[in-house]
Structure formats: C-alpha cells, structure tokens
Amino acid sequence: MDFASFLQQLGQQLINGISLGSIYALIALGYTMIYGIIRLINFAHGDIYMLGAYFGYFATAILKMSFIPSLIIAMVLAAITGMVIERAAYRPLRSAPRIAVLITAIGVSLFLEYGSMLLVTPQPRTFPAVFPAEIYNVGGLVLNSQQIVILAVSLILMLVLNYVVHYTKSGKAMRAVSYDTDAAKLMGIDVDKVISFTFAVGSALAAAAGVLVGIYYNSIDPLMGIMPGLKAFVAAVLGGIGIIPGAMLGGVLMGVIEALVSGFFSSTFRDAAAFGILILILLFRPSGLLGKNVREKV
C-alpha cells in the first residue's frame, strides 16, 4: 500500500470510526451519568438502547412516521422506561449494598432482553430506510447520508446535554447530587427526583443511539444491546466514569480504534481491541483519560 492510499484509507476509517463512536458516546453518556449519581454500573443500559431501536422501528415501520418525530417518540418512551426501571428496581435498594444493586441491574438486563424476545420474537427486523441512501464523495473519501445524520444528531444531542447540565437548574442539581448527595439534600434538592431525571436523560440518549444504529445497519434484534452496551461501558471507563466529557471522548475514541483495527488488520480483532483497552486502562489509568487520579471523596 503506498502512502497516498494509506492516507485515504486512514481518512475513510476515521469517518467510519467517528460515526460509530458517536453512537458509543451517546450510550456511554447514560452509563456515566447514572454512575455519577448513584455509583451504579447500570448493566441494563444497553437494553434501553435496544428498546429505543424498537420504539423507533414501530414509529417508522408501523406508524409510518418520519425520522424526527420517530426519534423524539423513541427518546420519550425510553426516558419513561428508564424512570420506571429506576423506580421499581433500584430505588427500593437505595441503602442496600452496592453489589445487590449491581446484581439487580443484571437481572433487569436479562428481563428486558428475554421479555423483548417474547414480545417481538427473536427474529431480527429490518429497519425501514428513512433516508434515501446517498453517497457523497469528498476528496476520495466516501461519506453516506446515514453517517451524516448520525454525526449531526449526536452532535446536537451532546450540545443540548451540555447546556442542560451546565446552565439549567435541573442540571446543576444533578451535578450537586453527583458531587455530594448529603450536601445536595441540605440545599433542598429532592435527590430522588434528580436521580429519576438522570435516568430519563440517559435513557433518552441511549434510545437515540438505538434509532441511529437501526438506520445505519438496517437490522435490529432483542440482543443487539449487549455488545454495544459493553463497549459503551468500556468507553465510559476509558474517558473516566462519572465524567460527562469523558464519555463523549471515550465513545469517539472507541469507535475510531475499532474502525482502525478492522480497517488495517481484521475485523475479527475488533472486539478484542475494545476489551484490550479496558484491561489497559484498568492497569494504567483506572480513573480514565479525563479522571483525576484516585481522589475518593471524604
């Protein structure tokens, strides 16, 4: 391979990687926000992403809605689902040991996966093409319309999230609870409400990712959340769990690494690379790229 075609290949894999990475980032955000607020790795989060894809599927394929309304409906329904799960499964365990909540999360995850199989059958479904598949050629690099939609939607959602977290009262309450729950209570913040809100936001972002993946790969199934869920979790750890910009960075990096590995080596190593990263971070930088090195709060 000569240098020019290497560069061209590199550029192409970067485009693919960033598109895929934005999807990981959207899922990773929910992991990190929920971890930040109740110190829980919500293993059911990947399944919320799957539900989001199905909500989007029903809106587009059956109700024949167009893209934006379907996306919004999927996000709203997933937000409600997330809040219900928190209310029913996690809130009763608020003062239980962390391991109990973690096991419950795994239970919720299995429940959603196999419950969905029962409801919608394990058969993969074809996500309708909501956009004409157009391919653009920019200086030798190929960019398709789905990728543009993924990038645009992810970017907008992350900007909105950033605004909500930094400039709204709910966002400030969220950061306060995440930093020091008791101090937040002394401000008059209703911690349960803030936790509920966090689950809603995280789940809505995961649902958006689900719809985008449906559009990108055209196919969805009840177990589709497992792998991306795990990878987004790795992405969140890579960026620094509990840190919002960390999840964005970790997600995009994760996507890029995967694309480079499958582009230059072989796609069989793709998943191994993802989990290899997890091992490396845990060994060398357990607090993640943007994390401050081990400063447990007192």
């Binding site: 009262k169 400030k172 306060a176 020091d180 101090a183 209570k185 002394l186 401000m187 008059g188």
Partner: protein, 234 residues
C-alpha cells in the same frame, strides 16, 4: 421556635444520641458544645432530616418535622452549614450560591439575597467565577455560610464554623454570625471552641457522649466550674 424532645438516634448498632432535648427560641443564638464524638453533628443532621430519630420528636414552629424528608425541612426555613463546609468544590462560587437558593423561584428576592451575601462576604464577590475548590479554607467557610443564607432561612444551623481556621479568621466568622443573628436569623451553633461560642451565645447546652449534661444561659455555663474545667481549659 425549634424544639427537640428526647430524641434517640442510631447509626446501625451505635447509639449516638440518647434522649437529647433542646430548645431554640426565635431570635437567639444557642450553642451546643461538647467533645469529639459527643453527637453534636448527629444532632444537627437529625434536625435537618438527614437522619431519622428512632424515638422522640422535633417540632419547628409547631409542626413536627422528624418524619419529613430533608428537602421539605429546608423549605420550612431550616438551613445548615455542615461540618467540613461541604461546598460543591467542582463548581463556581456563583453556582454554589445559586444552589443555595434551589428551593426558591423568586428571582428578584434571590438577586437581593445575592447582594446581601456579597456585602457580608466581599471576598466572595471578587471571586464569583472562581471554582469553589480553589478557595482558601476561610473563603470556603464563608461560601458555605453564604450558600446556606441563600435559602433565606429562619434558623441557621452551623456545625463547627471555626474548624481549621486561624484565630483572626475565627474572630471574623464569629462577628459575622452575630451580624446574621442581629439581622433576624435565629442560630443554633455547634462548636468545639467553647470559649468563642459562649461569648456570642444567649443560651448553651453541653453534650457528652450522646446526652445533654448541662444547659443554661451562656453566662451561667461560662461561669460553671465543670464547663471551665472540661471546655475552657481551667
């Protein structure tokens, strides 16, 4: 105004408060003194609703509050500056103060109180965009107090405001506490610095291993033999 009656509080098997009673009359500064581990912070945390008493009652202006969640207690007008300040170190001074006013929606009133806080603590005004974690210890204490005042409380609970501060700063903080009280806010002050606390308080209670052992006017306690021996260094 605030009446704590015979409360028992546990941390698991640890019996931290054993039948503690105390009363705060509107307009006064009441201080609760005692050694490390006596249960002073536990008392304040229970009043604020962070802990629930197993037995006993807490009433605030005639309402029982012991069963209410913490956020409702703040809304009734009880605000606390917790031990160790517990400011939101990763947020700006301004954001900390805004969070202090979380329960309020009257933007005009919030603005007035912000001016009041900045007037009382001019150092915070200069540092409003600074990240709170980078403030000095004294400034952090001022921020914690300012933040608590932003809810416009009827009673302010202060947990060891002098902790870790240089003597000059302790004096400054105590004179500010007196000013806040003079401006109409009732104060319940927990201190290990009994000397300073008794010098500004109207009434005082002594807490020893979960029990109130002495109470009276601050003057009486400052003069009492046992208090002088145990808390005032002879």
């Amino acid at each position: 105004m605030l009446e704590v009656k015979q409360i028992d509080v546990y941390y698991g098997a640890i019996h931290a408060l054993k039948g503690v009673s105390l009363e705060v009359v509107e307009g006064e500064i009441v201080t609760l003194i005692g050694a490390n581990g006596a249960g002073k912070s536990t008392t304040l945390r229970t009043i604020s609703g962070l802990l629930k008493p197993q037995k006993g009652t807490i009433t605030f202006e005639g309402q029982t509050i012991a069963a209410k969640p913490a956020q409702q207690i703040v809304k009734l007008g009880i605000s606390q500056v917790p031990e160790g300040r517990r400011i939101f170190a990763n947020m700006s001074v301004m954001e900390n103060l805004e969070l202090g006013a979380y329960i309020r929606n009257d933007n005009k009133g919030i603005g007035e109180d912000l001016d009041m806080v900045f007037k009382r603590f001019p150092r915070l005004a200069e540092r409003r965009t600074q990240i709170a974690g980078t403030l000095s210890g004294g400034e952090q204490q001022m921020l914690a107090m300012g933040r608590a005042l932003m809810s416009r409380p009827r009673i302010l609970l202060l947990d060891e405001p002098s902790m870790g501060l240089a003597p000059l700063l302790v004096k400054e903080i105590f004179s500010i506490i007196k000013e806040i009280n003079a401006a109409g806010t009732t104060i319940l002050l927990v201190e290990q610095n009994a000397h300073m606390a008794l010098s500004i308080a109207h009434k005082a209670y002594v807490l020893e291993t979960g029990r109130i052992t002495l109470s009276g006017t601050a003057k009486e306690l400052a003069a009492s033999e046992s208090v002088r021996k145990a808390y005032l260094g002879g």
